[in-house]
Subunit: 287 residues, 2 copies
């Protein structure tokens, strides 16, 4: 496994690999890898000749008030996990190389970026879209794998890839969960034991909604009340949002749902902001 830090070197490497007919799968990460990342790496490993993982804590997707400086990091551990999962190249640029003096370009995906996490974090998805655009231009992958825990992020990237005619496929991968259902996240390390115990409400509330929907419930208000009721057990948590939106447009839904619908939520526990989601009527989505 190679570790490449230089942007031009990574680009030359990828251009050479593409020219020699190799298919490249790419898993962008901010490091501090958990089993969710490992699953993305395995997915990428299975679909291409070369597996590239990037490791870059992207400053432009954090607001000044957010946890950029505290974001957990452990390069040696990340390197071991990546190697174990068959990664060929770790691309680990530094922030000065990615955003040199005079840097001023932004990629924004308008409507999809506005609701849900975009409402709480206004500049977040432009930061995500821009860094992914850069990483795609450097790594030149045929496939890029994204975890569905960040479902809105996946939709933003998918829309950007379509709109800007990027020659690659954005591949979604199901959320990996702890045994009790909590979605894996590098930010779970922020939780106290008590918060951790209550955080199980997030996935439990979504599971209840999913089950109700499978039994025929289509009323948006009733589904949302079911979720809010289940979240009441998370006494230390503060709800940021609970919302339902059409997939893939993320437009508002009416009183009842008839097509694929993202049910997404964000809850703050102390300094940890946890998110989770499920797609209701997903079988109706034909991406």
């Amino acid at each position: 496994m190679k570790v490449i830090k230089d942007i031009k070197e990574m680009q030359r490497e990828s251009e050479g690999l593409r020219s020699s007919g190799k298919k490249i799968a790419f898993v962008p990460t901010m490091g501090y890898l958990h089993d969710g990342h490992a699953a993305l790496l395995r997915r990428g490993r299975g679909m291409a000749d070369i597996l590239v993982m990037s490791l870059f804590v992207n400053p432009t997707q954090f607001a000044p008030t957010e946890d950029l400086s505290n974001y957990p990091r452990d390069f040696e551990r990340d390197r071991r996990i990546a190697e174990k999962e068959g990664t060929d190249i770790i691309f680990a640029p530094d922030a000065k190389g990615m955003y040199p003096e005079g840097y001023q370009t932004e990629v924004s995906v308008r409507e999809i970026s506005k609701p849900l996490c975009g409402a709480s974090r206004p500049a977040h998805f432009a930061g995500v879209a821009t860094v992914c655009c850069k990483l795609f231009n450097i790594v030149k992958p045929h496939f890029a794998v994204f975890g569905e825990k960040d479902f809105q992020q996946f939709l933003v990237i998918r829309r950007m890839v379509l709109d800007l005619d990027m020659d690659l496929e954005a591949v979604p991968f199901p959320t990996v969960r702890e045994p009790d259902g909590l979605a894996m996240s590098s930010r779970n390390v922020y939780l106290t034991p008590e918060e951790r115990a209550q955080a199980v409400c997030l996935s439990r509330s979504l599971a209840l909604a999913k089950e109700a929907c499978e039994k025929g419930e289509r009323n948006v208000q009733k589904i949302l009340l079911l979720v809010l009721g289940a979240l009441e057990d998370a006494r230390l948590g503060k709800i940021d949002y609970v919302d339902m939106r059409a997939v893939p447009s993320l437009e508002k839904v009416g009183k009842t749902i008839a097509g694929p619908t993202l049910l997404a939520l964000a809850v703050k526990f102390g300094k940890a902001r946890l998110i989770d989601n499920t797609v209701l009527l997903r079988e109706l989505w034909n991406p």
Copy 2:
């Protein structure tokens, strides 16, 4: 010479050419070619194995009040000129393919896009940057050639290429002029004979400034007054702007110039908005 209208077909063609080791030069145009475009094609022809020209009147770089619907078009004439200059492929997509329903992504280059033409045409450079990003992803060129008549456009594209790590070089090419000095432009056809005669003032005013600078003039106010004086002969023209800006940042200049400086102007004659520019102390610019 091939004419390709389908985006995916062009992309496959370019991917194949790159894989077989061919270098691709690209000249994006809005058609209605003149000798300026022909010169860009010859420049591209001379630097690569394959020459691709795009022909697309991009709606997103026109404001609703501008001349999109009247923009001159003549595909058969364009095809003959492109073929004569040794073009291998004309890429001519349609607007529905480039901006399908649900399209919502924009690339913006912040500071450089604001002054000069960006002040008169607020959405213009985001439209230009976005369509060039798309065209680069489709045509996958090693070089993209831009005329210096649109010097700000060249700087915007160059900055985008750097910032987004696009694996290509944006190449500037000197403005091609009519015998009397008027910069060639597809929009010159809008001019009445009287306006056409007066339009020579634009290049003449720039030449006076250039000459003064070569003789040692560094005072910004004096250079601008020289230009404004020479533009007084264009009685039918209405000045949109005359400005001096640092190259390549396009930041404001102080009272005197000490480094490479763009002197740019825009003048409206009836429905024709003409632009021209020169770079003073260009020998100090080391791109």
